[in-house]
Structures are given as structure tokens and as C-alpha cells.
């Protein structure tokens, strides 16, 4: 059986044309990408607002409860509802994207909210003390500090979306799910197993890429790579800041963070 999977994956016929692996991977990434972008556009601003203001926390609970919605059932329900309204293949694309967006919103929203909410109040105070306005505090302090949790939300959303985007194939769309559905319909186990392996591989590759993004995007002051040794300490600025700010509020930790951020 392993041979037949290997044979299927290495068959040149499966690497070209509209049913070829590159095309299916591309379709899979397009559905996943569109869904993730939409989900991020919804979840990140919402998470920032909720985390920053501390209000409307129920939206996070609500989004988390949406994780319980069965994707496949929702997909069919939305497709049935939209089918008579749109006379093109958009009648299948839109339901798929809706389902994937609903899947991706909760992890991104929770991550963003938890990240913003978890910012050390001392760091916020320090930023305000330095004369930053609300927007600046958000942009220069809160968001960078929330980035590790926000990005891990995006990573887990990406993994879930790529793994679940296979269901688009059950309503006639492409993507790697095609191999699962078509393989099942003609009892071709090698095709199905190859499809499953490709989905898993794609999810792992995307996760790997995002982990690199996470490492480069997150401030070294938060990852612990930046060690606050005497050599690194920019003496002049510290002194200058010390003079300007309220002497009571900057704790050691806030000091570290601020240095890393500014």
C-alpha cells in the first residue's frame, strides 16, 4: 500500500493539468488564504478593541462557542441556502469561505484579545507617561507586546483552515479534498491517502513558514533573546527617560519592555 501511495505521488500524470497536484495545492491555498485574510480582518480589530477597552468580552466567548459548529453541516446548510440565489460556482465558493472564516476567527480573536489584555499595565503606563496617545500606545506598545499570542492564534487558525479546506471538495470545488472525495468514489485508496498526506504536509509547511515569521516579527525583548546586560543597556536614553517619567510607575520589567520596543 505504501508503494501504491508512493507510486501515485510520483506519477508525473498527477503533477500536471487541472487535476494535478500543483493546481490542487494552489486552489487549496487560495481558499485557505482568502478565508484567513477575511478572518484576520474581522478578528484582529475586534480582539484589539475588546482587549484594549475590556468591554464586550462576550464576543470572545461567542466566537469560541462557534468552534462547536460542525463545519460540514454548516457548509451544506449555507450551500443549500445560497444555491438558488447565485447561478455560478460562487454558490459553492462563498459557503466554503464562510465555514472556514468561522473556523479561523475564534483562535485569532482569542489570541489577539489575550495578547492585548495581557500587556503589562506598567508598560502601558510608561508609554503614556512618555507622552504617547491612545493610538500610539496601541501601535507601539500593546500590539507589539501582543504579537506572540496574536501570531500563535493565526498559526493555529492556519493549521485548522488548511486541514478543513478539504471539505470544499464535497460541494464540487477543487483543493486537495478533491483527491479524498474522488478517490473514495472510485475506491482508489492510494489517491485518498496521497491526498491526506498532501494536506498534512501543506499544513506543516505553512506552520513552519509562520513560525519563522513569528520569530522575525516578534520583538527580541519579548522572546528572551535580548538579554538586559550592562553592555546592551543604552545608558543615555535610560537616564533621559528616567528624568522625564513618573519615578513611581516604571518597574524593572516595564523598563525592559520599553527598551526593547523603542
Amino acid at each position: 500500500m505504501l508503494n501504491s501511495i508512493g507510486g501515485w505521488l510520483t506519477d508525473p500524470a498527477h503533477w500536471t493539468g487541472p487535476n494535478g497536484i500543483p493546481q490542487r495545492v494552489l486552489e487549496h491555498l487560495i481558499y485557505s488564504g482568502i478565508s484567513l485574510v477575511i478572518a484576520a480582518l474581522i478578528a484582529i480589530p475586534l480582539g484589539v478593541i475588546v482587549g484594549h477597552s475590556g468591554r464586550a468580552k462576550w464576543t470572545v466567548s461567542l466566537a469560541n462557542s462557534l468552534r462547536a459548529v460542525p463545519s460540514l453541516g454548516l457548509l451544506f446548510a449555507v450551500a443549500l441556502w445560497l444555491g438558488p440565489k447565485i447561478a455560478s460556482s460562487l454558490a459553492y465558493v462563498i459557503p466554503s469561505v464562510i465555514v472556514l472564516v468561522l473556523l479561523a476567527v475564534p483562535p485569532i480573536l482569542s489570541g489577539t484579545y489575550a495578547g492585548i489584555q495581557g500587556v503589562d499595565p506598567a508598560a502601558r503606563d510608561a508609554a503614556k507617561g512618555m507622552g504617547m496617545r491612545g493610538g500610539e500606545v496601541l501601535r507601539k506598545v500593546e500590539l507589539p507586546c501582543a504579537l506572540p499570542l496574536l501570531l500563535s492564534g493565526v498559526r493555529s487558525a492556519t493549521l485548522q483552515v488548511i486541514a478543513t479546506a478539504t471539505i470544499a471538495a464535497s460541494i464540487s470545488l477543487g483543493g486537495l479534498g478533491r483527491y479524498l472525495i474522488d478517490g473514495l468514489s472510485v475506491s482508489d485508496y492510494a489517491e485518498m491517502a496521497s491526498g491526506a498526506i498532501l494536506v498534512a504536509a501543506l499544513a506543516l509547511v505553512m506552520d513552519g513558514i509562520l513560525s519563522i515569521v513569528q520569530r522575525t516579527a516578534v520583538s527580541p525583548g519579548l522572546t528572551g533573546k535580548f538579554r538586559n546586560t550592562g553592555d546592551n543597556r543604552p545608558v543615555v536614553t535610560t537616564t533621559a527617560r528616567g528624568d522625564a517619567s513618573d519615578p513611581a510607575s516604571p518597574t524593572d520589567r516595564a523598563d525592559d519592555q520599553r527598551e526593547a520596543l523603542v
Partner: protein
């Protein structure tokens, strides 16, 4: 980073290990092969399977009920899947009997079906079947694969036969079950017999095929000739001059080692009672009236004194 790579490696190994689990058997085959083989030793119990559409499920329930009425223990495995899947199940003993269609089965096994004549197809099918399988008497009920279009599409392109689709193929999307794509009685045959390659193919199942046609996502669809949606929606069935979809009579296909006089008599009596009109009505009861397939079967059997 090192940890990420390690995790990725571990996951890849796990995926391969999972794949290797299937090394010796085919997990897509329906479960219950073990039960089937013990039953074959006893010779007493029969498993009736059916394909993934309602007509096959009603027929399966009718076969099961008719055999049960003769005092034989029967289990059913409805909704197994496409022909590719249930023929394998039949060969490995997971199921013993399945409702079949003469022309479609012959085309599946041989690549072509000889003619429109039901008897000729039936005779050719008998000669083509693998030695482990037999067909009992065929019924007069016909249910062919067909290509149907909406009334609007038909008048827009003034279509009469499948051949007329070829001139407009750039504007035609076909909806059909996924297996249609790789079958002779599917896109392969449509291309070789009619030179027709649709602009797009929508692999869908069951009611979704009909919905795609009524909602305009597809312009043509592969729907069975007994499907009540054809008359309900005023669909037009296109003529098939090249006989790609040939003659398709309902026939019980079963394992040779399970054949005995009681079962043969029971199922032949069923086949004698089923004609195209009866079959169409049975499908309508399930698809339109939303009745349970087993209830429809029971009703049919008691009306005909078979159950």
C-alpha cells in the same frame, strides 16, 4: 527552530505510520468482512448491500425483505457508495447481494455495452461477470443514466441529443457524481462517443446534482431516468444516439457461493413484479414524499404478497 523541525519530523513519521496501518487491507471497503465470512461458512445468513442513491436503497430493502420472508436471516448494509466500492465489497464477502443495472454494470466491467436490446445486454453481462458473481433474472424495470438539461437550456440551444451539446460545450457545465469524471459512462464516453468536453465539471452527489441544474450552476446533469426530479422540474432528457448509456434493467447481482433455490425464487419473484413505472413510483416515495426506504420496501412487498 530546532524544536519546530523536530515536531514536524515527528508529525511526518506519525502520518506515515498511519498510512502504513492500511498496508494490508483496504480501509475504504465497508466493514464487516469478518462477519460475512463466518456467515458463508454457516450458509444461513445473507447480507444485502446497496449503492449511495435512494433507488438502490429501496431495491436493497425489497430484496432483503423478500429473502427474510423465506425465513433466512438477512442484514442490510445500505448506502455503501459507488459501483467501484460495492463491487469490491461483494468480491471480498462484506456483502452478498446488491441491486444492479445490466448496461451500467456491463460497461463498468467491459468498457462498452453492445446494444439497446435488454436481452442482448443481459446475455453479454452474464458472459462477462467474474466467476464468483452471478446475476439472477432481470426485471423489466429500466433505469438508465441520462444527460438532462433544463427546459430553458434545451430551447436556448435547441438541443435534441447529447451530440448537440458539443457545439456549445464552452458554455456547458456538467453536474454529476464524482465517479462520472473517470468512467466510460461519464466524461470519458461523452468525449469518445460525442466529442463533448464540458467547460466545467461539478462533482456533486444526490440532490445537490439536481439543485445545481435548477439553480443554474450547471447546464447539464447526469440524472437517472427514473428520478422524480426530471418530471417535477420539467427537465429534458437528451437523446443518446450512440447508446453510451445503453439499456439498463434492474437485476440482483450476487455472490455465486450464496446462491440457493430459496433466494433465487424469492428474488426472481421480486424482479417479476418490478417494472419501470413501479420503480419510478418507489423512488418518488423516497425522494419526494420523504418516506423511509425500508418502509417503502415493506409496503411494496406486502402489496405484492412477497413479504
Amino acid at each position: 527552530m530546532k524544536r519546530t523541525i523536530l515536531m514536524t519530523g515527528a508529525a511526518a513519521v506519525a502520518a506515515l505510520a498511519l498510512a502504513a496501518c492500511g498496508a494490508n487491507n483496504n480501509p475504504t471497503a465497508p466493514a464487516g468482512g469478518g462477519g460475512g465470512s463466518t456467515a458463508s461458512a454457516a450458509g444461513g445468513s445473507i447480507t444485502v448491500g446497496s449503492a449511495d442513491f435512494s433507488e438502490s436503497q429501496v431495491l436493497g430493502e425489497i430484496y432483503a425483505g423478500a429473502i427474510k420472508a423465506k425465513g433466512i436471516t438477512v442484514t442490510t448494509k445500505p448506502n455503501i457508495g459507488s459501483r467501484d466500492v460495492y463491487i469490491k465489497a461483494l468480491q471480498d464477502g462484506s456483502i452478498d447481494i446488491v441491486p444492479e443495472y445490466t448496461g451500467s454494470l456491463l460497461t463498468f466491467l467491459k468498457g462498452t455495452a453492445p446494444s439497446q436490446d435488454p436481452d442482448a445486454v443481459y446475455t453479454a453481462l452474464k458472459a462477462t461477470l467474474p466467476p464468483t458473481l452471478v446475476v439472477l433474472d432481470k426485471s423489466t424495470a429500466q433505469d438508465k443514466n441520462s444527460i438532462v438539461v433544463t427546459k430553458d437550456t434545451q430551447s436556448k440551444y435547441s438541443l435534441k441529443s447529447i451530440a448537440d451539446l458539443t457545439a456549445h460545450q464552452a458554455d456547458i457545465t456538467v453536474a454529476a457524481p464524482p465517479e462520472f469524471q473517470t468512467r466510460q459512462q461519464g466524461l470519458v464516453g461523452l468525449k469518445s462517443e460525442y466529442g463533448f468536453t464540458p467547460a466545467n465539471f461539478l462533482p456533486l452527489k444526490g440532490a445537490a446534482v439536481v439543485n445545481a441544474l435548477t439553480n443554474g450552476q450547471a447546464q447539464a446533469a447526469n440524472i437517472f431516468s427514473t428520478d422524480p426530479s426530471i418530471s417535477a422540474n420539467g427537465f429534458v432528457t437528451l437523446e443518446d444516439p450512440k447508446l453510451l448509456f445503453g439499456s439498463d434493467n434492474v437485476v440482483p447481482l450476487m455472490r455465486k457461493d450464496k446462491v440457493n433455490d430459496t433466494i433465487t425464487a424469492a428474488l426472481n419473484a421480486v424482479s417479476a413484479k418490478i417494472d419501470t413505472a413501479t420503480l419510478t413510483d418507489l423512488v418518488k416515495q423516497v425522494d419526494v414524499d420523504k418516506k423511509d426506504a425500508s418502509a417503502v420496501a415493506k409496503d411494496f412487498l406486502s402489496k405484492n404478497g412477497l413479504g
